[in-house]
């Protein structure tokens, strides 16, 4: 009983130290969040006013911009600040990894202060768990709230030609649970590299490289549709194709023969009508197709990214715990 009581107070002590050392970072995170929320509230209410003016009422769903009836100028909402927030959310894992993860253990290792802490009453496990838990909790809260602000701000403009489509980078990678998993990945990668590198600066540079590369690789998989293959939308004969609407086109258009062979659209480069039908008959094409991801795939992309990044974050954290005994 007394032992567990004593242990509990040591946990408190560890958390106190973790807070004492990370309070500046936590405050900076909170300040960023407040600033972003204020800008979002201001910008979103402006957006709602624009939408309420009735100017956009005649616009169809779909990727083609609608224009001002009188002047023919394209009608657009001011979504630039929203896209900046998306970009911030995409960069967040790198920022957190470099400035929070890398020094989390690295600073102590560089100064040798872990030896001072670990010869007090606390164990390695308590020391690591308390500081990592505080950093991880703040990371989840910060990235989750930023993703939440993005979703709230984005909703009125989502999937509109005058707004922001779900498949645009800032929306697809800068929102949702994926943003939280990515931030945790950044933290875990930075923490591990801080443990492996000899100096904090070295760890920060490596973290920048690793997390930056990981974000680029995931963007590349989005673009290539590597993890979420697109659907084929087929329309028989010369029947007009289903409208693209809010689907994310993979850029593959083509023609299908009776045997099912798929050919490039340039074999019959006609939009519709008699010319198209004549050309299709001549080549033996029976249908046309295009490939695209439907809007519902937003969540497939989100959950796959979340699983990949979250899994990696867990793996790197486990590795850190395993190496802790040997390197600290």
């Amino acid at each position: 009983m007394k032992g567990s009581l004593r242990n509990g107070s040591l946990w408190n002590g560890c958390l106190w130290l973790a807070w004492r050392q990370q309070r500046v970072l936590v405050s900076v995170g909170a300040a960023v969040l407040v600033a972003v929320a204020a800008i979002a509230a201001y910008s979103r209410s402006g957006m709602l006013d624009d939408l309420g003016s009735g100017l956009f009422d005649h616009c169809d769903a779909g990727p083609i911009h609608c224009t001002r009836p009188d002047t023919g100028v394209p009608l657009l909402l001011d979504i630039e600040p929203l896209q900046y927030l998306g970009a911030l959310n995409i960069a967040l894992p790198v920022i957190i990894g470099v400035f929070w993860g890398a020094p989390l253990l690295g600073r102590d290792r560089e100064l040798g202060t872990h030896r001072m802490v670990l010869t007090q009453g606390v164990s390695r496990g308590q020391w690591f768990a308390s500081r990592f838990a505080l950093a991880a909790a703040t990371t989840v809260a910060l990235s989750g709230l930023l993703a939440g602000v993005f979703a709230w701000w984005w909703r009125p403009a989502a999937d509109r030609s005058y707004g922001l489509f779900w498949y645009e980078t800032t929306a697809l990678s800068g929102s949702g649970p994926r943003a939280v998993a990515a931030a945790l990945f950044g933290l875990a990668a930075g923490t591990l590299l801080g443990l492996l590198a000899r100096r904090v600066l070295e760890a920060m540079a490596l973290t920048l490289l690793v997390t930056g590369a990981m974000m680029l690789v995931l963007e590349w998989t989005h673009r290539m549709r590597l993890l979420v293959p697109p659907h084929s939308y087929i329309s028989a004969g010369g029947v007009p194709k289903a409208p693209m609407g809010e689907k994310w086109s993979a850029g593959h258009y083509g023609l299908i023969t009776a045997s099912g062979r798929r050919d490039d659209v340039m074999n019959c480069p006609f939009p519709s009508g008699a010319q198209l039908n004549e050309c299709m008959d001549r080549h033996g094409y029976v249908a046309r197709f295009y490939e695209a991801n439907p809007a519902g795939d937003y969540w497939t992309f989100q959950w796959i990214d979340t699983a990949v990044l979250g899994g990696l974050a867990l793996l790197l954290t486990a590795l850190t715990v395993l190496l802790l005994r040997r390197r600290v």
Partner: protein
């Protein structure tokens, strides 16, 4: 706490450690017992393994072979951490913490804490509690680190080169404070140092490391009693080596000066001096394998 039944402050059996899996041994086959309540001098040349031994005892490294126990507990266990305080050579502290923060950290991170003792140690050095650790002089930092170590009221205090940054006055003060602490509470102290004259007055046990092996683990008084510094004619060298252990010898012309560990009474025409602890330690530290093998060859050639 002290007495014949008290557990040893330190006990090593077959202790070995190397920094890399296939690297050389920093410590090898170390076997020694330091009784509790002693002020022990850990002596050795650079790279002999002093810091390694202190890190192993402090639970900051783990033995690759054998084991070391502190106060009959394995280093690094909660029990050992609560009773053993360690001050490593670099005296790491958080530079942006104030002195008060640092002591507060000690209070938070230890299950028992003597705030008065910690603050007294700091105040005796004239260090304001509001000063930032990073702005203190090295000597003042040492004092703060020592306050952190003493605040937890350890039964065993491990100090790695504690006095290196201190001026002579501060050395004396801190040593006196440590001795008083040790006498009051029966605290055992193990300190490594290169300043041998200082050890003479304070230490009553000697642990001497040479090339990663324990060469001496002995009561300081007994060590002084059993050794003699001899000066005489070089002809007598071989008869001397036959009976006694020659730790170190120096020949100048026909005159021989030798530090010997006596086994029985001395014969021959020698000028005998009781060596100081410092002389004995230097004798052991200077002694290297080459000297010893040369001496052995000479003995054989003469026989």
């Amino acid at each position: 706490m002290t007495g014949p039944d008290a557990p040893a402050a330190l006990r090593a059996t077959g202790l070995g450690f190397r920094y890399r899996k296939r690297g050389g041994w920093a410590l090898r086959d170390c076997e020694f017992t330091v009784p509790s309540g002693r002020i022990t001098a850990l002596v050795g040349r650079n790279g002999a393994g002093k810091s390694t031994l202190l890190h192993l005892a402090g639970g900051l490294l783990r033995a690759d072979s054998g084991e070391i126990r502190v106060l009959d507990a394995a280093p690094g266990t909660p029990e050992a951490r609560a009773r053993v305080a360690v001050l490593t050579q670099d005296k790491p502290l958080y530079p942006r913490f104030t002195v008060a923060d640092t002591l507060r950290m000690g209070e938070k991170l230890n299950s028992s804490w003597d705030r008065a003792a910690a603050e007294r140690t700091v105040r005796e050095g004239g260090i304001p509690l509001t000063a930032r650790v990073g702005e203190l002089s090295p000597g003042q930092r040492t004092r703060v680190a020592l306050a952190l170590a003493l605040g937890k009221r350890p039964e065993l205090l491990l100090l790695d080169e504690p006095m290196a940054d201190l001026d002579p006055v501060a050395r004396g003060e801190i040593m006196a404070a440590l001795m008083a602490e040790a006498a009051d509470r029966g605290m055992s102290i193990l300190l490594s140092s290169h300043v041998l004259p200082e050890l003479e007055q304070t230490c009553d046990w000697v642990l001497l490391l040479r090339n990663g092996r324990i060469e001496l683990s002995e009561d300081a008084y007994a060590l002084r009693e059993s050794h003699a510094m001899l000066t005489g004619h070089a002809d007598q060298a071989d008869t001397l080596a036959a009976r006694h252990t020659v730790v170190h010898r120096r020949t100048g012309g026909r005159q021989l000066t030798a530090l010997v560990r006596q086994h029985g009474p001395l014969h021959g025409d020698w000028h005998v001096e009781r060596p100081k602890l410092e002389d004995i330690l230097i004798g052991y530290l200077q002694d290297d394998d080459m000297v010893r093998s040369v001496a052995a060859e000479r003995t054989e050639a003469a026989a």
